[in-house]
Structure formats: structure tokens, C-alpha cells
């Protein structure tokens, strides 16, 4: 244990020293070149380490993954589209796609909606109370998915009838005279997936609240006053005056949560291991690769996920480009 601590400290000191030295060396190398060439290559003195890491650890493996998806389980034999055929003809995989679709359809919307409610309520109670309420709502954001799974696993806990229920949900059910249920096993209408979604909404609503709250505060007071003078009700003020002016923030929160939800994995792993029809794409990758040892099928699953995420990449790049032109 002390060895590990020393190791970590050494890594910090050496890591900083080496990277500092590396950049120093690069700038020295650049300065040795003739003045004209210097202007052409100077940026590499700052970019090279980052570019290397991004190329070697991100981009090259990304391409490699797509190629691997056309190979067999051990990655040795080319098998064309067989992995994809196998996936798209399996009912389980189609169910997984349905789950991903449900996650995407439900979680971002409710995260934004609940965040909006919290934001408009906390904005009304004055700065000191606002701060307390906001910290408490925002707090789950710092909790890992795995710990959140413990927290909510306790809530959904099922004890067979006869012994006392220690999960809130079943305690309520038994208190109202019904039999306790193993909630996470109920897959009618994907009920158990909804239970997992609640966890992510719980984790993310605070984030949504914080962003939307500052957006609401930035709405010019005059526009609200003017509407009130014209006799608008508070509902009308909210939906017709405030909402249109914070549309941009709503979109960016929505997209952020959407991206997160498309890649959702840890919660499903820790709660159900992807069983009982709760699996999603990222979870399926995990079980194909680590349980089945099938790098081909696992890569195909990720490639499908990449294809689904691609439009969001494009959206992201476009938004950033728009911001650039505004500068």
C-alpha cells in the first residue's frame, strides 16, 4: 500500500517533470531550425504530445474497432457482415435497441423538465435559501453510477413475503396490503428499464437545474414586466416569454444528457448486469467482449453505437462552429 502511494507520488512528479522537459525539448528543437521553417512548424512544439495521444489512443483504435467488426470472435478471420447479420436477426439485440431508444426518448426530456421545475422554484426563494436547495438537488451529480446503483438498489430491494421489507418501494406496497415485488425482474413494458432511468434522471436533474437556472436569470426583466403589464398570467409569462428565451440552453442540456444516455452503461451493469431485458448497447459490448470473448461482435455493437452517435457529433461540431462565428 505504501509502495502504491510512493508510486503515485513518483508518477505525479515524474509525469510533470517529463512533460515539462518534453515541451522544453520540443521548443528547443524548433528554435534550432531556420527562421522561415520555424513559423511553419512552431505549433507542433505545443501540439505534438496531444496529437500523438489522440491519434494513438483514440483515432487509430476507433478505425481499428470498425475494421474488427468485420472479423470473427478472435479477430483473425474476415467474415464480412456476419456479425451484423447475427445481431440484427437476434430478438435480444433488437430488444437492446428498443431499450436504447426508450432511454433516449425518456431520460433527456424528464431531466430537462424536472431541472426546469427546480430552476424556476429555486429562483424565487431568495439567494440564501436558493443556495441550500440547489446544493441538495445538485449533490447527486457528484455520485458515481456505481454508488448510485447501491443507493437505488436499496430502494428497489425485494425480500420474499414473510420477512420485513427493507426497500422503500416494497415497504409501501406491503403497507398498502399488496404482495412485495422483485421490481428489477419485471420486464412488462420494460418496467425495470424505467426504474433504471429514474436513477439517471435523479443524478442529472441537478446539472440541468443549474444551467437552466442561470439561463432564466439572464432573461431580461423588462420582457417579463412588459408581459405582466399587458395582463399575462404567470403561466403565460413562463411559456411565452421565458421559455423561448432559454431555448438554446434547453437544447444544450438536452443534447448533453442525450449523449450521456446513448452511452449509458455503469448503471445497467451494477443494477441488473444487463439481465431481465434491461441491456443497452454499451452493456452489450461489455458482455460480448468480456463474457463471450467475442471481439468481432463486440466491435460490431460499438460500431452500431457509433453510427447512432454520429449525427450528434455533427450537431456538436456545427454548434461549435456557430459559436465561433459569433465571437
Amino acid at each position: 500500500m505504501w509502495g502504491d502511494i510512493l508510486y503515485g507520488l513518483l508518477a505525479i512528479v515524474l509525469g510533470v517533470a517529463i512533460s515539462y522537459g518534453l515541451y522544453w525539448l520540443l521548443s528547443k528543437l524548433v528554435s534550432l531550425l531556420p527562421a522561415k521553417t520555424q513559423d511553419k512548424v512552431r505549433h507542433w512544439g505545443f501540439l505534438l504530445p496531444a496529437a500523438t495521444l489522440v491519434l494513438v489512443i483514440l483515432m487509430y483504435p476507433l478505425v481499428q474497432t470498425i475494421i474488427l467488426s468485420f472479423f470473427n470472435a478472435s479477430g483473425k478471420r474476415f467474415i464480412g457482415f456476419d456479425n451484423y447479420k447475427e445481431l440484427f436477426t437476434s430478438a435480444d439485440f433488437l430488444g437492446i435497441l428498443l431499450n436504447n431508444f426508450l432511454w433516449v426518448a425518456i431520460v433527456p426530456f424528464f431531466t430537462v423538465a424536472i431541472g426546469l421545475v427546480f430552476a424556476s422554484l429555486t429562483n424565487r426563494v431568495g439567494p440564501s435559501r436558493e443556495k441550500i436547495f440547489k446544493s441538495l438537488i445538485f449533490m447527486p451529480m457528484s455520485i458515481s453510477f456505481i454508488s448510485a446503483a447501491t443507493i437505488w438498489g436499496l430502494i428497489y430491494e425485494y425480500v420474499p413475503p414473510g420477512r420485513p421489507e427493507i426497500g422503500i418501494m416494497n415497504a409501501l406496497v406491503t403497507a398498502s396490503g399488496n404482495t412485495p415485488q422483485p421490481w428489477l425482474l419485471i420486464d412488462d413494458f420494460r418496467f425495470n428499464s424505467f426504474l433504471l432511468m429514474i436513477i439517471v434522471i435523479w443524478l442529472q436533474a441537478g446539472f440541468s437545474m443549474v444551467l437552466l437556472s442561470s439561463a432564466i436569470k439572464a432573461v431580461p426583466e423588462e420582457t417579463i414586466e412588459a408581459a405582466k403589464i399587458d395582463g399575462a398570467t404567470s403561466g403565460q409569462v413562463f411559456f411565452r416569454i421565458i421559455l423561448p428565451q432559454i431555448k438554446g440552453t434547453i437544447m444544450s442540456v438536452f443534447v448533453t444528457v442525450l449523449i450521456l444516455v446513448m452511452k449509458i452503461f455503469d448503471v445497467v451493469l451494477a443494477m441488473t448486469r444487463g439481465k431481465y431485458n434491461t441491456s443497452v448497447l454499451a452493456m452489450e459490448f461489455y458482455s460480448r467482449f468480456f463474457v463471450d470473448n467475442d471481439s468481432g461482435a463486440a466491435s460490431a455493437v460499438v460500431t452500431i453505437l457509433l453510427v447512432l452517435i454520429a449525427p450528434l457529433m455533427w450537431l456538436q461540431i456545427r454548434t461549435v462552429k456557430q459559436q465561433e462565428t459569433l465571437r
Partner: protein, 358 residues
Amino acid sequence: MKTTPNGLDSVIGLILPVLALILGLAVAAFIVISIGVLLIKLVDLVIRLVTGGKTRIAAAQHKFNLAAWVRNKKLGTTLMLVFLVGIWSIPTLGLIITSFRAKDEATASGWWEAILNPFGQNWSFGAYEHVLGLGDVTSNATGMGEALVNTLVVTIPATILPILIAANAAYAFTFLEFKGKELYFSILVGLMVIPLQAALVPILNAMKWLNKNMHIDLIGDFPAAWIVHSAFALPLAIYIFRNYMLTLPVALIEAARVDGASFYQIFWRMVMPMSVPALASFAIFQFLWVWNDYLIAFIFVGEQKPVMTYKINLLLGQYGDGWLNVTAASFMSLMVPLIVFFSLQRFFVRGLTAGAVK
């Protein structure tokens, strides 16, 4: 396992009581508030009647209108928020309380009964002693102390290294002109969205290859996690730092250029110190990200040097072990983020909003 036959009945059986509970609380709150407001109005009336006759001017000046006071203090909204925040905090509360209960009591009754009857309970640090290895027995749950150290050893270098590398790159993207700048930056922005999983298999294969052919063993130790975490943090970090550096005064930097400072000196002496707020925000974001990460730690460090999320996930997979150990372990892993959260809340919020796209 298939659904129990009366599964849906019980779903309704759950939703109804919950709805009833919420409705009941709302009605109760409404009644309490209404009675309160009525009482206040009554008191107000009495005060006015009492003070009304003789000290009319004083009464007019200091007219203490309690109803208006309630409205000014926003008691209605506050009560509603207290209720909502209560619901929001119940899950975490359950975890914390369960982890401090005695073993037999934790299985014999719900944690809420411990709140309702706090003095009739046996509170205990037993679970913490067990997961830290201080107790007499050991199990899979023991070793959280080492896991805490491992998590720190993974997290801190994986937070510092990408900051250094990304700040350099962001500097080039902000203050230097070069061919293909726009394109490279667009690629980086696109890469922010890429799921980790998309690169894992080839990285793992490459590390296995290195092990076999060059005898460099990266898997199962910290450096692999540092490298992968750093690489995956770069696109976002560069993006955040560049956005911040764009707000720095260009004139100052040009003046330094005129005075003969090299680009390298300008970076370390001027741009880095001025970018500290952005660096700090990202540091917190990255720290929590790595601290809470499961996948990279699982793949590249694994069971040799288990981190906390790894241990907790293992415990969650064991049935019949009860909730004590896993709640204690989870609370241990929660504590550091919570401390970071409550002490550095302002930076934390800024970091998370800046890192919104990850």
C-alpha cells in the same frame, strides 16, 4: 426469470399508494398553509384593532401585515421545495443510515425505522470496520482502505497529466496560426462525443501485443489507466482551455512578443498563470470523472489493484450478503466527491457546465 403473474397489479399497487402519499402530503401542506395564513390574518386584524384606535399614525407607519410578510418570505414556494428536496435526498439518506446500523437490525427493519426511533437502535461502525479490515473477520468486502489508495493513485496523475498536455495544445490552437487548424479543431470537437468503448478493444489488443513481443506489461497496473484517461480527456480539455484562452487579452501577449519573449516563455509565464480558473474547473471535473469511473479501471487496472468502484460493483453482484458492507463501501467512495463538491462548489459547477458535452 419471467414476470410474476401479478407484476403489473403491484405496479399499480405501488403507484397508487405513492400518489396517495404525495397527494396527502400536498393536501396537508395546503391545509397547514391555509390555516397559517388565516391565523396570521386574524392576528393581523387583532393587532390592527388594538393599535388602531389610539396610535393610528404609528399603526399606519408600522402596519405589520403578517400575510404580506408570508408572501414576501415566499413561504409557499419554500415549503414546496422542502418537500421536493426531501424526496430528492431520501435515497442518499437511506444509504448513509443503513451503513451505520447493526448487522441484525439492518435486515430486520427498514432504515427509516432507525430514524423514527433513533435511540432504540444499535448504531454501529461495524460495517466500516469490516470493509477497512479492522474487524476480526475478512471477506470480499475487506480492503476498501487499499481501494481508496488505489483510486487516489489512479485519479491524481490522470487529472494532472491531461491538463498539462491539453493546455499546451489549446495554446497552439488559440495563439498560433497554422494550416489545418480549423479541421483539427473540428475533429477534436467530434471526438468529445465518442464513447470510450469504441477504442477499448484495439487498445487492449495493442497492450497484449506489447506484453508478448516487447515484455512491456501495462495491463493490471496504473500507467495504463493514466494514459487512457489522459487521452480520453484531451478533446474536452483542449476545447475548454481554448474557449478560456480566447478571452485572454491578446494585446498583452503581443506586447510580450515585441519585447522578445518566445512563444514557449509566453505560454509558461503568462498564459498558464492566467488560465488557472479554467484549469481548476477542468481539474475538478476530471478528478470526479476518473474517481467515479468504472470501465477503464476495470479493464486496465482490474483486480490486481482494485479501485473503489470495482470493489463496490463486485459487492453488488453478491447476493445474500446484505446491504451493510456495500452501503459502507459506497459511502466511503462517496465521501471524497462530496467533500470536493461542498468545499469547491463554485468551481465544481463551473467545471461541470464547461464540461457539459462529455
